[in-house]
């Protein structure tokens, strides 16, 4: 084995390989944009990266859930607005019909209109988005009501499922996301269907007293309807708040994970440049080493 300048050649090769590996790693980080590609790149950051990414994924799904709920709430709110307009007209009809001054022909016309409006209310109770009934409660695929003018309240209930579906926001707070058609349109003591049915039938064959009774039922229904409107209004506000909260958290988590996982480009570029300069200097210095010995000077 040699002694002298070139006895260190193996050490030089080791260091050169090491420098080239560092350059390759820096280049990989720069091109991929990812600093942590495998567990040993930063073992202490792995758990945080995985849990943060998981939280981000769940927030993304939450946003999807909130968007669906928002869509349903918007539809429901629009439907209830229409119901409100219909109820106003029915109250007006009832007021006219309750007057003894209304002639039979006019009463008959009012009765016809009231019946049409009553059946329109049943249709609104069956509002759909695709194949789902907005007021279907826990069973959105079963039609809530069908028209049954042969008996009060003029509609037959087809869906008896309650509305217990809750949505949770990112902090875990739960919120009911809907009301059933039964609760809105056919609540005990304040049934909109009954009020409209009784008005139509009383205008057709009843007395003014009957019409007045139906009118009072309608007014009770209007009060009840306002409660439903408030519910969906509050629901929309809650959804918006939850969505904003989720967006804010997602932004924060995205920043966190970038700090943990992504490449610090200025640092990586500086390191790579520095290593390249070192490599060039080492190659140049090693090449300048004299390879001559005393034997080369023998005559």
């Amino acid at each position: 084995m040699l002694k002298g300048i070139h006895s260190t050649d193996s050490g030089f090769l080791v260091q050169m390989n090491r420098t080239e590996t560092r350059i390759a790693n820096s280049n990989n980080q720069i091109t991929s944009g990812i600093r942590v590609n495998q567990a040993q790149d930063d073992p202490f950051a792995i758990q945080s990266i995985l849990t943060t990414q998981n939280q981000l994924d769940q927030l993304t799904q939450l946003q999807t859930n909130l968007n669906l709920a928002k869509n349903d709430a918007t539809y429901a709110d629009a439907a209830l607005q229409t119901v409100s307009n219909i109820m106003s007209r029915l109250v007006s009809i009832g007021s006219q019909g309750a007057s003894d001054l209304t002639n039979p022909i006019a009463r008959a016309n009012l009765a016809t209109e009231a019946k049409q409006l009553a059946q329109q209310l049943i249709g609104i109770a069956n509002t759909q988005i695709g194949t789902r009934y907005v007021f279907g409660g826990d069973d959105p695929y079963t039609q809530p009501y069908t028209v049954n003018w042969a008996a009060t309240p003029g509609a037959a209930q087809g869906n008896t499922a309650p509305a217990t579906v809750v949505l949770r926001d990112s902090s875990g707070t739960a919120q009911l996301v809907g009301m059933t058609a039964k609760n809105i349109f056919d609540a005990g003591g304040a049934s909109i269907f009954k009020g409209a049915y009784d008005l139509a039938t009383s205008l057709a064959t009843g007395t003014s007293t009957d019409v007045s009774t139906a009118l009072n039922e309608l007014k009770a229904g209007v009060n009840h309807l306002s409660g439903a409107t408030v519910f969906y209004g509050n629901l929309q506000s809650w959804i918006q708040s939850a969505s904003d909260q989720a967006s804010s958290q997602a932004s924060s988590l995205t920043e966190t994970i970038a700090g943990l996982r992504d490449t610090d480009l200025p640092t990586a570029i500086t390191q790579m440049t520095s290593n390249q300069v070192s490599l060039q200097a080492a190659l140049s210095a090693h090449a300048s080493l004299s390879s001559k010995t005393l034997f080369d000077y023998f005559g």
Binding site: M1, L2, K3, G4, S7, T8, S10, G11, V14, R18, V36, N37, Q38, A39, Q40, D41, D42, P43, F44, I46, Q47, S48, I49, L50, T51, T52, Q53, N54, Q55, D57, Q58, T60, Q61, L62, T64, N65, L68, A69, R132, D138, D139, P140, Y141, A161, P162, T164, V165, V166, L167, R168, G172, A174, V177, R261, T293, L294, F295, F298
Partner: protein
């Protein structure tokens, strides 16, 4: 005349000695690049019949050699660990979007989507699909790690074979030294090359006798080579005395020629020590062994049991209790990850959503597994994703430490080899200077012979003329 004759004889002896000295220099120069060939120095002595050549002295330094061997053993251990841990860590996803953590995240999302529409068949079907992905991700992880274990078994067998081959080589050199009753520098270079390679593979203690033969002991205790006798090592896989998990693969054991278990000695250093450490300690902590369940199996079992528990606590749309979703082999705790699957008889309609009067109580509870602080939803105080992260982090730490150790030991070995070459190596400049010295001496003695020869001729002429 007798003095002249003696002078010529003395000069002849000296010329012979200088020739042998020059021959030593020549051998040094010829073998300068041969690994482990140390500088030989001609030893000349003065006698009444001229300069005589004694046996050349060897510049080999025992301390420098042992420093190289010790460092080489440490490097061997660090290298085998770094190289294998680097491969094992690659099987752990660290992005969160693939492997086990990615599959778990998708499953949580499927639960969450299901919660918005508990009666929706598409959402239910997605739960089944993503549950299957979770099972497959655990299967794949377990299979990959078992393959790593099998590859380690192969490496261990190859390393033991290599150790036995090196033992045979040392014994062969020892036998040659016995046969010739002599040792030459080339043979010693070969012996020390083999010993250096030996040190890479295992933690050996070497004693070089005065006659140049070597005795090699594993960890200074177990004979591998004594004279021309080889004691071979073997790899065996005996079942543990009282296994907690009998069906699991047993640990690798190294036995000596006499059947003695020398695994402890083998673990002490060298590539064999590094391989055994990973095979018998690192991998079993993840995939299990006859003595432990393994963290991957622990996680798989907890995920399966908890999801099943929540599902069966709910009721379906007909009021029937929910069915379990995941299955695994309960008779083999170390096979949980490998055998985890989704019950093929479970249909989307079998997924019970209602719980506690809430129609989506079950999917809500399942979705909450993603970040739950309830101990029932955790493994050793961590969420499932965090627990997996701990596993990956543990392997990553080991890999990083082993890589750093390998770097450090490589530098130490380079330094030790440089020191050895500085102490025992051949300097071409020194050899050239010595060659010039002996060349001048040879020329001087030759000139002496020429002068004495001329004197002899002159005397002969004087005698003839008289």
């Amino acid at each position: 005349m007798s003095l002249i004759t003696t002078t010529i004889q003395s000069a002849g002896t000296s010329l012979s000695a200088f020739e042998q000295a020059i021959n030593v220099i020549q051998n040094n120069v010829n073998n300068a690049s041969v690994p482990n060939y140390t500088a030989q120095s001609p030893a000349l002595a003065s006698s009444w019949f001229g300069v005589v050549f004694q046996k050349s002295t060897d510049a080999r330094n025992d301390y420098a050699e042992r420093a190289v061997w010790d460092t080489n053993q440490s490097l061997g251990m660090a290298s085998s660990q770094a190289d294998n841990l680097s491969l094992i860590q690659a099987q752990f996803d660290v992005s969160g979007s693939a492997g086990v953590p990615g599959a778990l995240s998708k499953l949580y999302s499927a639960f969450s989507a299901w919660s918005t529409s508990p009666a929706d068949s598409t959402a239910r079907n997605q739960v089944l699909v993503n549950a299957k992905l979770v099972a497959q991700s655990f299967n794949k992880a377990a299979t990959s790690l078992e393959q790593s274990s099998n590859q380690l078994d192969t490496q261990i067998a190859n390393t033991v074979g290599k150790i036995n081959d090196l033992s045979a080589q040392v014994a062969g050199i020892n036998q040659h030294i016995y046969d010739t009753n002599d040792t030459n520098p080339s043979e010693q270079a070969q012996l020390y090359s083999v010993l250096q390679e030996f040190s890479r593979y295992s933690n050996v203690a070497v004693h070089v006798e005065e006659n140049g033969t070597a005795t090699v002991l594993l960890n200074g205790q177990v004979p591998l080579v004594v004279g021309n006798t080889v004691s071979k090592l073997e790899v065996k896989y005996p079942s543990a005395a009282s296994p907690t998990n009998p069906p699991a693969p047993p640990s690798a054991k190294i036995t000596a020629n006499n059947g003695q278990d020398v695994t402890g000695s083998a673990l002490a250093g060298g590539e064999l020590g590094g391989l055994l450490k990973i095979r018998n300690e690192v991998l079993p902590s993840i995939i299990g062994s006859q003595g432990e369940q393994g963290s991957l199996n622990k996680l798989a079992k907890q995920v399966a049991d908890r999801v099943n528990n929540i599902l069966t606590s709910g009721t379906d749309s007909n009021g029937n209790p929910g069915k379990s979703l995941f299955t695994y082999s309960a008779s083999a705790p170390t096979g949980t990850a490998l055998t985890l699957d989704v019950d093929s008889t479970v249909t989307p309609d079998d997924l019970a959503a209602a719980l506690g009067g809430v129609s989506n109580g079950v999917p809500n509870k399942l979705a909450a597994l993603a970040n739950s602080s309830d101990p029932l939803d955790q493994v050793d105080g961590s969420t499932y994703t965090a627990f997996y992260g701990k596993m990956a982090s543990g392997i990553g730490s080991r890999a990083a430490n082993a890589a750093a150790d390998k770097t450090s030991r490589t530098d130490q070995l380079t330094q030790a080899e440089n020191l050895r070459s500085q102490v025992s190596g051949i300097s071409l400049n020194e050899q050239a200077a010595m060659l010039m010295q002996y060349q001048q001496a040879y020329q001087a003695v030759s000139q002496m012979i020429s002068v004495v020869n001329n004197l002899t001729g002159y005397l002969m002429n004087m005698v003839g003329n008289s």
